[in-house]
């Protein structure tokens, strides 16, 4: 009885030291194979450090490796085409806006005339078809970016985020922006 009690207490103490001891058969604990606490008496050193010479050849060799084609082979899809067109239209419009703002400040220095009256008169003197095409192109930047922006905001409400919905809304936005750009140009 006493020996059993002593054994039990020993096991409990072992279990406290090493919680895994609770799940090992007591007989196994008695042997020296279960739950051996590893004590590393020598520290391991890493052989992959920056300043060691054996990595230089490897680094140089990596530079000579060929690059798998990525942008040149990715299949055109409405997802990423739509996304980059959104970025391009936004950048073009903002770029024009920024350039005009800065140019308007610099105009007196260089003798430019950037008043609306001058620009409107110059634009009116263009051939009509060129006026129409310019309006379609600029209008399309605006309408596509606006409608795709609304699509982005729709996604932010976590709606229409399935593959099918993304494809459908993407093409819908393309069509709608073209139609509205032409409509605006005809105003």
């Amino acid at each position: 009885m006493l020996s059993q009690r002593i054994a039990q207490q020993t096991l409990r103490r072992l279990a406290l030291q090493n919680p895994a001891a609770r799940f090992v058969a007591p007989a196994a604990l008695a042997s020296r194979n279960a739950l051996v606490n590893q004590r590393r008496l020598a520290a391991t050193t890493s052989s992959m450090q920056e300043n060691q010479p054996n990595t230089e050849i490897l680094a140089k060799q990596r530079l000579a490796r060929p690059v798998s084609p990525h942008l040149s082979i990715y299949r055109p899809q409405i997802t990423w085409y739509g996304s980059i067109i959104n970025r391009i239209t936004g950048s073009l419009m903002s770029g024009t806006f920024y350039l005009f703002g800065a140019a308007y400040l610099a105009a007196p220095v260089f003798g430019w005339h950037l008043e609306t009256a001058t620009i409107a008169a110059a634009f009116a003197s263009w051939p009509v078809i060129l006026q129409f095409l310019t309006k379609v192109v600029f209008g399309w930047q605006f309408t596509y970016h606006t409608f795709n922006g609304v699509r982005h905001l729709m996604w932010d409400t976590a709606s229409g985020i399935t593959n099918k919905a993304v494809n459908q809304t993407g093409w819908f936005v393309m069509g709608l922006s073209t139609v509205s750009a032409v409509a605006l140009a005809l105003l």
Binding site: L63, H70, L71, S72, A102, A103, G149, H152
Partner: protein, 188 residues
């Protein structure tokens, strides 16, 4: 040991074999004559066109270092995201209203210009972050970030002058848009 002497012998024998009897002699002469001189070897047929080639790689620290987790900054995280969406959403009615209503209000026009500038700043920030990573072009990144920031002030000033001295953004766009059809009605 026998195996240790056998291996170098085998290796030199193989080397001798490839030197005296090259397996791909015919394609190599064709290589020099063919226009595809960019071929690196007989097996590769497409030209080497490295878009964004790999840079010189270096190991920072040791391979046992844990990945660094950046400090959480709400102004560059979720608050930025929220502001971006709020500004974008606000721009939609602000664009349509003045053209639809046909009225001219400099305060509304000025607010519209301000929102466009904020929206453009956020948009350009995304482009700069995407195409000029710090690990590749740190100086360009810093320069562009600062130019983006200073452009807000410069462009804001320029459009303020335009708003003051001229008719404003919405009225200007309307006049230029309708310039062709109203040649005699263009007012100075």
């Amino acid at each position: 040991m026998a195996s240790s002497t056998l291996l170098p012998v085998l290796r030199s024998a193989l080397a001798a074999r490839t030197l005296t009897t090259p397996a791909f002699s015919a394609p190599s002469t064709l290589l020099r004559q063919s226009p595809l001189f960019l071929q690196r070897s007989a097996f590769q047929t497409s030209a080497k066109r490295a878009i964004l080639p790999p840079l010189s790689q270096s190991i920072k620290g040791t391979v046992n270092d844990a990945a660094t987790v950046p400090e959480a900054e709400y102004t560059h995280g979720s608050y930025h995201w929220t502001m971006e969406r709020l500004v974008s959403a606000a721009l939609v009615p602000m664009t349509v209203a003045p053209f639809a209503a046909g009225s001219l209000n400099p305060v509304l026009d000025g607010a519209f210009i301000g929102f466009i500038i904020i929206h453009s700043y956020i948009g350009f920030q995304s482009c700069i972050t995407d195409y000029f990573p710090k690990w590749r072009v740190p100086k360009w990144r810093k320069a562009l970030d600062w130019m983006n920031f200073l452009a807000v002030g410069l462009v804001g000033w320029g459009w303020y002058e335009f708003e003051t001295n001229d008719v404003g953004l919405t009225e200007g766009v309307r006049r230029i848009w309708k310039a062709g059809s109203q040649v005699d009605k263009v007012v100075a």
